[in-house]
Structures are given as structure tokens and as C-alpha cells.
Amino acid sequence: MTRIAGGLIDRTRTLGFTFNGTRYRGHPGDTLASALLGNGVQLVGRSFKYHRPRGVLAAGSEEPNALVTLGGGAGRTSNMRATMVVLTEGLEAHSQNHLGSLERDLLAINDLAAPFFAAGFYYKTFMWPRSFWEKLYEPLIRRAAGLGALSHLPDPDAYDRGFLHPDLLVIGSGAAGLVAALAAGRAGAQVVLAEEDSRLGGRLLAEGGLLDGAPAPDWVAAVTAELAALPNVRVMPRTVVFGAYDHGIYGAVEQAAPDASQGPHQTLWRITARRAILAAGATERHIPFRDNDRPGVMLAGALRAYANRWAVTGQARAGDPVAVFTNNDDGHRSAAQLAAKGVPVMGVIDPRPEAVSLGDYPIFAGATVTGTRGRRSLQAIQVTRNGRSDWLECGVLGVSGGWNPNVHLASHHRGRPLWDADRLAFLPPADGPQGLISAGAAAGQGSTAAALADGLRAARQVLDDLGRALPPVRLPSAAAEPDGQAAFWHVPGKGRAWVDFQNDVTVKDIALAHQENMRSVEHLKRWTTLGMATDQGKTANVTALAIMADLTGKPIPETGTTVFRPPYSPITLGVLGGGNTGAEFRPRRLTPTHHWAEARGAVFTEAGPWMRAQYYPQPGETHWRQTVDREARAVRAGVGLCDVTTLGKIDLQGRDACAFLNRIYCNQMGTLPPGKVRYGLMLREDGHAFDDGTCARLSETHYVVTTTTANAGPVYRHMEFARQCLWPDLDVHLISTTDAWAQIAVAGPKSRTLLDRIVDGVDLSNAAFPFMACTELTVCGGLRARLFRISFSGELAYEIAVPARYGAALMARLMAAGEDLGVTPYGTEALGLLRIEKGHAAGAELNGQTTAQMLGLGRMVSAKKDSIGAVMSRRGALAEDRRRLVGLAPVDPAQPVVPGSHLFAPGVVQSLDSDAGWITSACHSPHLGHAIGLGYLLDGDARLGQEVIAANPLEGQSVQLQVVSPHFIDPEGARLRD
């Protein structure tokens, strides 16, 4: 154990956890990382490429090394940063990316082959042969290089989403964030304070400093209590703001409290904030030197954080000496504080010749660290000064190369951070997201006193913008902190000096990339993989840029940064899904007769969001086609019932409804008299066919337009656009009534007989209610209904509509009333079969690339009036398209007709040039006893009786077909007019 006194942990309680199966103990308040360090565990993982042993580097969100998998079974989660995992009783963690045990990783052999794995290795090596890539190279690379693995089981965790609309979003709860939230909260603004950590305070919890003469965490506790008491402030710990999006929208993920037994595991919040303050602090950078990746080498600020907040010092054995390698005064604070806590400090190695000791520890001024020793944990460091090198015993080395403000969120709109030569750091860009300002260490104001003051400055600016006065806020006094630093970026020399720990990128890799002409920083990133993966190079990027600048001889600002993109921290894909999974992944729409059909054993199919009955199997039927053939035969021989509620219904009224429809449909709709229905075709603006359906005129100023199921939404939108934007002068009113009315197709020669039994005193004779008639009426003793005599099947047929709540009852009544007529419910499969037999176009024919002429409806495009798409339909490319809808039947009736097959003249070489069309729809026709199809064929209308070849080159299929009329059944249309 390497616990020392103090810390913000609850020593009265212990928590048991396991790491790679070994049991350890920690305390409430610990993270997994601090608990492991407290147990003397330095080796926590293996590196991505070379499988080098790695230990905890940081104490926060930026951790590149200590990635672990939590839990087991379906709930296991990989790539979790041990520094961000709150320790809980029974926590089960495993290290990642090794073959065999963590201590004896067999893939560590990669490290021996390191000279071959230099920058650009993949690009250079796996070029050929091409066929090896998918089957050999990729699986190999994935096996050897990688992070955690998925469970391959459905995620059992619950996720949720939500929306917040504060006046102010404060991102980060360190000195600046707390002051800003407090000021805005006291001013009465609606404030959301988001903190990635489980506890508010940021670096105030880690620095060991005093505020108003008391430990800083005391002040944090007082402010936290006041914020919690303000009803207008919402404090959200364990919440990472991962992205800044347009219009003041921020994405955030809230992790449930570790002790929460119910509720969502994670919540995705969309926060629309009038203003935001980025107080995300800063990330310490390290200084690359030879073998600087040994477990036990960590950031100097992390060393201090572990000591102050978690009371651990990070050595494998208590009593091992601790050292600090720093180019700045802040690094000295770690040494001074550890020394003051009685930890043996071997010294501070500082490359600045003028450096002096700022506490009770030896100083190695003008010196650098040039090497490390130790197998899986640090045992000694090599200190070089004035050409002389000495090996000194050392159990933990803290490294500080200065601090990088966390400018990420301020740069998500492609703003480029600005280089500050005095602070040796990139500051937030001037052209960041509108409404967002940075404060505190994120803005380069890193000392405690400066951060407190800057938080107040930011709050004042925001409250000004919001029209609120800044309330009195007394800032606590903080001691001055020395802030000298030198522009010392890496220790030159032999061996490998690691820049990006997560991606195993060394100083040499950067030099090699430069040598290979990867001069742009974006190229450097792709060539070396620097700054990629889960940590996004938080501890590496700026150092790498500085080294790159060194090599190019350009100043750092000219070298530039790569583009910052969300997410700032890794987030799970599960939470981005927002919690909708399985059957509830998206809304499902059910027809009014859904439950009725379900009770009859119907098989359902998806039609967009709709669930439709596909067919109704009967006992003894062993194949779906038996069922469908029976249903189709029943319609042509007697009467069938099909729920067609899903077809779009648009109620259209107004003085100018008639004129409006005449412009929407390409065919003449103005002459449609009340009480009649007409088939209508709509074109898109570009002249292609858009949708077809019926238009029923119920009265002088009242129409009901029907659309296809798929286009119910698009047609409504199209009409709404025309109404509002194209012809606002017309008095037309639209509203969808698709769901309001249950509509049932009653089709077949006995349909009139059946309907006669339920309508209330309406004469349905052919003379009184002919083909394409419509009326409002009552049925079943007074229920208001609408009846349309229209036919998709080609038979005598009607569609009857009643208020949706009566749909199932009407279906049941029709079934009962038609029992002696052999009434049969039929599904979408028989519906499709019947319409193919009749040659009616559907979605497969109206695929957005077809014209009215192709459909054989060219003459419907009226030349006597203007309508949407009419002019464009006459342009050359469309008007000259010679493909026409035809029927297709196999020459050998035993052969299939396969939709999607392409059509060729017999004997030609099959190529794109000789392609004469394609098959759009096909089915087995029980009435003809063989397969039939519809398709578009070049000059199809002139090729009736000829033979064509239906080819499917992918499957090697080739079938001889005869071109026939698309109307396989009753081409004269006598049945539907009967």
C-alpha cells in the first residue's frame, strides 16, 4: 500500500474490487486508478502497437494508458479510463490488448520488431497483393493492435435522452466554473453546471492549495452547497459535454450515480443554451525522453492530484523515492508538496540552468532525464547534466512540460486555436462557437487566483448579454503561484522517446514522417496515427506540434493544429441511440384491424413504419404461396377484404380546391363532378412521375385525395408546399386523415352483394352507383361512412371507410355477413399479385426514375392546362424515353420471372449498351398457372408478342420471356365496370 495521510476519501469504509481477478481494496472517493495505485499496482495495460507495459499517466479525463474493460457478460464495457471510473463495491476490471497475462503478454514480441513498425508501416507494408487485405492483413492487424473488445451480446443497460434549455451552460466546475455558476445562479439565471468528474471542484481538489486560508475543498463544499440550494441552478456531476454544435446546442452524456439501482445507465442530453462558459481547465503535457513510457512515469500534476485528493503516491512500494522532471515552476509544486507530506523526494530535474528548489527537495538544475530502468515498473532514472549521466533510484517520476488549455469545445466549429508565445500554449480561437466564452485555465488563466477572477469576468459578460446585473460575489483569496517555464519540448538523444502513449508514436516517428515529406500536420497525424483513438492525443498533440515545428524550422503557430471534432471524451454508442432498441427502435403504426388480423394468425410485413397483414395462413397450408393463391382466387371468384387504411388520405377543402388540384395532378381534375372519383397522376417538378392515387369529390368544395402508402407523407408535404409557397392566393385547406378513417377494400364479383347487406338504404346497383362513384352514407344502422367504387384488383370492387375506432368491428361484420359468399380476408401479398395480374403500377414501377409515358400514361399529361411537372415532362430527355411498361410471361411456363433481371434482345451480347430494360415486379399467377411480370422495355409497346431474354448476370440466370400486354386479366376492364 502506498497510502499517505489526508485526502478526500472515506477511510471509515472499504470497497472490495478485482483487477484481472486479483482482489484489492479501496475507499469511497477513490477512482479505479487511485485505488490501483493505492495497492501498489503500476502496470495496468499494454500499449496499442508494441504491447509495451504501461501504467497510469494522468489523474483525469486525458488518460491515454489506463484503459480497462469493466464488468463481464453482456454488460461489459471496454476502453473505460481507470482515472474516470468511480470505485464501487464489487467492481470488476480487466486490462486489455494482451495475449496471455498482462505481465507476460505474448504479443510483446511486437516490441522487438519495432524497427519494422515505424510511421506509415501499414501504408508501406500492406499494399499488395490486394486480395490479402480483407482475409489476411486486416484480421491480423486487428488481432495484434487494438483496444477493448465488444461482448457481441445485446447491451442490457438502459439509456435515455433529454433536453435542457438553460440561460447559461457552465462546462467544468473548477475555480472558474464554480465562480461563474455561482454568480449567474445568484443573478437568477437558469444555469446548468456540467462536470465530467463525479465531484465538483476540478483542480481545486487536487492542488492542495488554500482559499481564504483554509483547504480549497472547504470552499468548494460551501459553493456546492449554495448551488444545490438555488432552484435555478442544475448541477450535473458525471456529465461530460462532448460537443459544441450549431445554434448554441451542446451534446452531453450523464452517467448514472454509481449507487443508482434503477433508471437509465446513461442519458444523452441536448442542451440548448443561450450562453456557455467553457471552464474545462487545462491538460498537462509531458516531455518525451528515452523510455519515458515505463509504468511509474506519470504527469507531475497527476502525482500531486493523487497525493492531495486520493492520498496515494504511486510507487510500487512505499518508501521508494519520487522525482519530478519539469521545465516549469508548476512541476516544482508537486515535489514540494510531496516532500511536505513526508514522501521521500529524490529531487527535481529541471533543464533550466537557473532553476532553484522551491521546497524541501534537491534540485538538478540544467539537467534532463535521459532514460529509465525497471521491468514492469520504474526502478531508476538516468539524469544527465553537463554531459555526465547518473542512474538514480526512483519509484515514481512526475513529468511536466507545461499546461495546454482545453480549447477543444471552443474549436469544434473549426476555429483554430491561437498560439500564445508567453504562455507557450494554444488559447481558444477568436472565432469559436457563438455564445461560448472560455474562462480560467481553459483560457490560459491557470493560476488559482487568475482562474477565480476570470470566472467572475466571464459571468459578468454573460449576465450583461442576458440583461442581468452581476450580483455581489466575493472571491476567496489564493496564494500567488510561480509560473516560470522554458520552451523545452523533448530530450534529444538515442532510443525511443514516446510522444503519444496511446498510439505508440515516438519522436523518431515524427522525424521519419517529416523525412518522408509528411509536412502538413494533418498528414503527420494520418501517417503516424498521432492524436487518434479514444484520448484524441490530449497529452500528446501540442508536444508533437512543437517537435514538428522544430524539424520544419517553422514557428509553432505556422505549424498549426489538426481539426478538433466531437466527441471531446469517448462516449458509448448505446447512449447515442437514445434508448430506443428492439421493437421500439422506431414508432410502429398499426392498422385498425391489426389486432383482428393478429387473432386470425396473420403474418405481418413492414411497409415503412406500418405493420400490414401480408397473408392469412389457414390450417393445412404449408407454404405462403398456397395461402396467397387461395386468397387471390377467392377475390376473383367471390369477395375478399383487405385493410387499405395505410394508403394516404388527404382531406382538401376550400373555394379554390378544384383549381389547386388541377395544378397538382397532371391530368384533368377540374371536370370531376361531385360524387365521382378519378384516377390521378402527380409529377415532380422535374417531370418524372411522383405518385398516383384517386381523387374523390365529396362536394363542390370538398375532396379526398388518396396516395400510395409510401408517399402519404411526401405527397402531403408537396401539397402543403404548393399551397403555402407557390399559390398562397388560393383558398385551400389540407389536413391528413389517414389515421382517422379505417378503409377496407371489398373486392370481387360478390362485393356488391356483401355491401348491400351492411349499407343503410343506399342503392348500389350499377346504374345508381357505377364504377368510380363515391358517396357519404351510413352503414350498420347509422355509422357515418364513405364508399368509393374503385378497384386495384381489376374486379368489381369498393373501398369503404368508417371512423377508425369502428374499423375492426366493420371487418368482423363484413366477415360474418359474407360467410355464405365465401368472403376471405387477403393481405398485401395477394393485393400485389392481383394488381400485377391487372397491370397496375405500384412502388416498383413508380421508382422516381420513370415518366408518365413509360407507364403508358403519357396522354394523361394534359396539354390543356398547366400543372406541376408538365412542362418539364416534355423536355427531350424525358419525352424521348422509349421504354414502356409491358407484361412478361415465360416462354416455358415452368420458368420463373425474376424481378430485377435486365432485359435483352435474344442473341445480343449482354452489356450496358444492349440493355433494353428491366423487370419491376413479378409473381406467380394462380389464374394463369405460371409466373408473370411487369417491366420497362425499350419500345415495349411495339414489341408485343416478341421474345426477350431476362438475364441476371450475377446469378448466371437467363430466361426466355414473351412480351405481352401488362393487363393479364380482363384487359377490356369489363369486370370492374360490371
Binding site: T267, T272, E584, P587, I735, T737, T738, R805
Partner: protein
């Protein structure tokens, strides 16, 4: 009167109900709906059944369970509690003969969300349901918005009462979304 038996949006005879702690959900099949649209006209707006036609984002309550909700420029939805068995649209036509009226009763499922503990539980639930500012959800507000991928009217009829109007065909999905959120709040 027809002898056909109506079914609720969930395909059964009785309205669906479910409680989650202080929150309860109740289907309202008795709620009659009719849309009302008016041609451009500088004349004052009519007041069907004495109900004022409200401004955008608002609803107006009348006597006898009547209410009106703004839907679009010069278009409103009229609500009549307990009137779903009547031809409500025909009554509206009688009241405002110059309007274009469309029956909407069965176009929607109406779900009441009632709180026994004032506004707070509703606020907590609504922030997980709809991307609307709390100001747009105070009593008397009515907004059409996206809820669980559906276009839904959120009617704040009172401090402790919200009514969701969603597409009737997707009633099960809407119920699932609201019930899941309510269930989680209870936890």
C-alpha cells in the same frame, strides 16, 4: 345508432390506464376532435361554442369540456370532451358554417398524463420527452413537436395535467415512450 362496437386505439374496449407513483397515464377515447380552417379574412375570428381561437403555441378552454388549439396559420383543432360518439365535426360546421371543418377524432390517440404532486414531476418527465423550453410548456400552452420520433401535440391543460395527441396508428409507440419515461422517474 350503430350496433358496431368501437375499439380504443389499442384495439380493446376499455381505455388504457397505468400509474407510476405520482404520475398516471390515461387514454381519452371520449375526446372528439375536429380541425377548423378559415380563409383569409380581416373580420374578427369566430368563437365556436364561445371558445376563443387562440394564438400560436396556445390553447383556449371553453365551457363543457370544449377547447381550441392553434395548429397552423388560420387553422385550429377543436376538442370536445365526451363528444367522440357524436358527429362532432358536423356540430362545428353548424357553429362556424364558413369554416373548412375536418373530422379528426380518430386521427389521434389522446393520452392524459396527470400528476398527483403538482408540476414538478411533469417538468422532469417532459424534459426527457420533448425539446421545448419550460416556458412553452406552462399551463395553457399547446405545441406540436417531435416526441419519440412522432409528430405529437403537447397540450398543457393545467399545472398538473398534460395531454398528448399522437397519431392513432402509433398509439402503442407513444404510450411506450411516455410510460417508459414515467417508469424511470418513479425509479
Amino acid at each position: 345508432m350503430t350496433d358496431l362496437a368501437p375499439a380504443t386505439a389499442f384495439g380493446v374496449a376499455e381505455p388504457r390506464e397505468q400509474s407510476f407513483g405520482t404520475l398516471s397515464l390515461r387514454e381519452r377515447p371520449d375526446l372528439a376532435l375536429a380541425s377548423l380552417a378559415l380563409a383569409e379574412d380581416p373580420a374578427p375570428l369566430p368563437q365556436p361554442f364561445g371558445v376563443t381561437l387562440p394564438e400560436p403555441g396556445r390553447m383556449a378552454l371553453g365551457d363543457g369540456g370544449l377547447a381550441a388549439v392553434w395548429m397552423a396559420p388560420r387553422q385550429w383543432m377543436l376538442l370536445g370532451e365526451g363528444a367522440a360518439d357524436d358527429d362532432f365535426a358536423a356540430c362545428v360546421v353548424t357553429a362556424v358554417p364558413e369554416a373548412c371543418v375536418t373530422e379528426q377524432t380518430d386521427g389521434w390517440v389522446a393520452i392524459d398524463l396527470q400528476s398527483d404532486d403538482g408540476a414538478a414531476p411533469l417538468a422532469r418527465l417532459l424534459e426527457r420527452m420533448v425539446n421545448l423550453r419550460p416556458e412553452a410548456l406552462t399551463a395553457g400552452c399547446a405545441t406540436r413537436t417531435l416526441l419519440a420520433h412522432q409528430s405529437v401535440f403537447v397540450l398543457r391543460r393545467a399545472e398538473d395535467l398534460v395531454t398528448f395527441l399522437g397519431p392513432r396508428s402509433a398509439a402503442g409507440s407513444l404510450w411506450h415512450a411516455v410510460a417508459t419515461a414515467a417508469q424511470r422517474l418513479q425509479g
